[in-house]
């Protein structure tokens, strides 16, 4: 392998790597604005200048290929001077906007100004002003003043989102970003530019001014918008999700996520229609009752039916743990009619991230056994059997079956007993006889298996009534750490809900069952013992980046 020396350290590199890439691979970070590991090289910011022996002038490390025997200095006097000069140059027209800029706290320019800036400017003239608050697209506001013309956003739209939508216009110090005349910056991936924009020029309309970044806790999670399962971070303040951002996973989503996933997969967690506590139908109306009563009534009513008269519907929206617990519970009752609904939107996919399957865990649900195949009825078969009066009791976990089509809605109202787990009110819960409040993906531990067969973990970011941030080892912001019960921010809304696996475990004790799951991982370990593909796994081995399952055969368990 060829070698180069960076700051006296010998490092190996692959032919074709640039100096910045080789250094980065060896853990040496060379400051940069415009360079991004998955975008083409533009070389316009000049912050990555380094001194290289035998070269007459400093060279930008992002576009200089590493060569055998090269000697690079990233901290020499000359390099530092040049870097500080470049910083001063970039700051000439940059406004002192940090107090009102959403990027503050995670801003590259801010960080580099501290680390590499001189703290003073020779420039005494008036700064050039440009347009502020420009609506570039439906989800993005642009602030011309703040832009440092790195062109990352332009390259992102061209190369990653594959839509040539942004461009520079004008010249010199008047340069600014805009869309082509009459067009809007509206591809499905626009919000990724707010992450890679090194300054606060591009802001997320949905998150704008909601919170300062240092006030939130962030928890590693997985997007539930489709079967890609993009790795995400969930940002929470006062027990409320304020935004999602993508988390790097080169095997799944690289650095990106789609706008739909980012904006629309967390709003239901704090929606008005969250189900808070257990409900039972009394004299035609759903009435809130204690957990004990609801569990007792549910157990008693299930006992009234023969196993052939009961059917279970699982869900690809929820975790392997929940589905596995459902299967175990159904089997303990002798029920064989188990299935779940696929939610695919024909044609709604691309070769970037978005998948047709709009659930995060179809493979996981199948592997957990929520599809009895030829042994039991499919969802369609169940509906037919309900119509014919053969199936009298239906148990639905976290899926809005009644909203699938009008006929299903009519059929479901024929049931003698409908038990539903759900996080939010929907058509199915309004038809239900017993409703259990399910925790959302942001409130529990668990695993999803994405379309590639990669099992990935989710973690609780929002606390429910039974949880405590500190005791349950959840991520905490400074407010969470030092708050007392008298502080209002500690009194953020908490729902009385539980993960579905827990509800099944509790219910089974009322039916004389012996399953004793204490935590989600207990369910998962049980799953690894029963399903070959999961063999030998536990939460630690899955880790932050997931593990590819060895799936021999899909479907039918």
């Amino acid at each position: 392998m060829p070698m180069l020396t960076v700051d006296g350290k010998q490092i190996e590199f692959k032919q074709g790597q640039t100096v910045i890439e080789a250094a980065r691979a060896a853990g040496i970070d060379i400051p940069h604005f415009c360079w991004h590991p998955s975008l083409s090289v533009s070389g316009n910011c000049r912050v990555c200048l380094v001194e290289i022996e035998k070269m007459p002038k400093l060279a930008i490390s992002c576009s200089t290929y590493a060569m055998d025997g090269m000697v690079v200095y990233t901290k020499s006097e000359k390099t530092l001077q040049a870097r500080s000069a470049v910083m001063e140059f970039i700051l000439i027209n940059h406004p002192l906007d940090c107090p009102i800029c959403d990027e503050a706290g995670e801003c590259k320019l801010q960080e580099y100004a501290y680390a590499h800036g001189s703290g003073e400017s020779h420039f005494e003239e008036i700064k050039v002003r440009k347009e502020k608050r420009v609506q570039l697209g439906p989800n993005i506001k642009f602030d011309g003043d703040r832009c440092i013309m790195c062109s990352r956003c332009i390259r992102f739209s061209d190369e990653i989102a594959k839509q040539n939508q942004l461009t520079f216009i004008k010249r010199g110090d008047k340069v600014t970003i805009t869309t082509f005349p009459g067009e809007s910056f509206d591809n499905p991936y626009t919000l990724n530019t707010t992450d890679i924009c090194p300054v606060g020029a591009l802001t997320n309309q949905d998150f704008r001014f909601k919170s300062r970044v240092w006030e939130m806790s962030k928890t590693n999670s997985v997007c539930v918008g489709c079967s890609r399962g993009c790795n995400t971070e969930v940002w929470v303040r006062n027990n409320q999700i304020l935004r999602l951002t993508p988390r790097q996973n080169n095997d799944v989503n690289s650095y990106w996520m789609c706008d739909n996933g980012r904006l629309n997969t967390f709003k239901n967690v704090n929606a008005e229609n969250r189900i808070n506590g257990t409900f039972i139908r009394k004299e035609g109306e759903l009435e809130k009752v204690s957990w004990e009563e609801a569990l007792k009534v549910a157990a008693k009513s299930l006992k009234d039916y023969k196993s052939g008269e009961i059917a279970f519907i699982g869900s690809a929206f929820t975790t392997c743990e929940d589905n596995f617990a459902l299967v175990k519970f159904a089997k303990s009752l002798g029920v064989v009619n188990i299935d779940f609904v696929n939610h695919t939107v024909q044609g709604d996919q691309d070769d970037i991230l978005i998948r047709e399957d709009k659930t995060p865990n179809t493979l996981g649900a199948e592997l957990s056994g929520v599809r009895s195949g030829s042994n039991g009825l499919s969802v369609e078969g169940m509906m037919k059997a309900i119509k014919e009066g053969k199936i009298k009791a239906l148990y639905v976990m976290e899926d809005d079956v009644a909203s699938l089509n009008e006929e299903y809605e009519k059929i479901l109202s024929k049931l003698e007993l409908l038990i539903v787990h759900s996080a939010n009110e929907n058509k199915t819960t309004t038809l239900a006889d017993i409703v259990f409040p399910a925790s959302t993906y942001a409130e529990k531990n668990g695993t999803f298996v994405n379309f590639q067969g990669r099992v990935q973990r989710i973690r609780p970011a929002v606390a429910t009534e039974e949880m405590d941030r500190a005791l349950d080892g959840m991520k905490m912001s400074r407010w969470d750490k030092f708050g007392t019960k008298f502080d209002r921010w500690m009194q953020g809304l908490k729902y009385d809900s539980k993960p579905s696996w827990k509800i099944f475990t509790m219910l089974s004790t009322y039916l004389g069952g012996k399953t004793k799951y204490e935590m989600a991982e207990d369910v998962f370990i049980d799953l690894t013992h029963s399903v070959d593909s999961f063999k030998g796994l536990d939460y630690d081995t899955i880790g932050e980046q997931g593990v590819l399952l060895k799936i021999k055969q899909t479907v039918t368990v």
Partner: protein, 164 residues
């Protein structure tokens, strides 16, 4: 502190007591004619100097809006976690304003850090030292109690310009 002497260590004058009593009486007499510094609070109120750190307040501009841009720096720096700010967007040039601004006066320790860190001179320490509440809830001051006309804060703002 004067060293306490044992009886056997006293000199002859001290042993006589009389000169010592006269000394003490002289001190009392002297103080009897010094100006009176005790204030008959609450009939008479103390008017603190501009360096005084009373409760923190928000500066309200002449046109009625607050100076604060809801940057949250005061909230971040506050060692007692007394300040809660929720920003929101405004049409004004400053772009953001505090939709909610609350100081929990039970938490505040009057350190003045919030005033020091504020980039807008929007939060200043006032001369107000009278803080009474009957329950925890009343101790949380919202914008209604925090906003003070800029004219009434001239002293402090001048002090800050000079010494900050």
């Amino acid at each position: 502190m004067p060293v306490q002497k044992r009886k056997e260590d006293l000199n002859i004058l001290e042993k006589l007591y009389i000169p010592e009593i006269v000394k003490g009486m002289a001190l009392t007499l002297k103080n009897m004619f010094r100006p009176n510094v005790t204030m008959q609070y609450p009939e008479v109120r103390f008017e603190p100097p501009s360096s005084y750190r009373g409760r923190p307040v928000l500066v309200q501009e002449k046109n009625g809006t607050e100076r604060c841009v809801a940057c949250g720096l005061c909230s971040r720096v506050c060692p007692a976690l007394a300040i809660e700010v929720q920003a929101s967007e405004t049409e004004l040039e400053k772009e953001r304003y505090p939709q909610k601004f609350e100081i929990n006066m039970l938490r505040c320790i009057f350190c003045g850090f919030c005033e020091e860190v504020c980039p807008e001179e929007a939060i200043v320490m006032s001369k107000d030292y009278e803080l009474v509440f009957k329950n925890r809830k009343d101790a949380i001051f919202g914008k209604d109690k925090l906003l003070v006309q800029v004219d009434n804060l001239k002293d402090r703002l001048e002090f800050l310009r000079k010494f900050k």
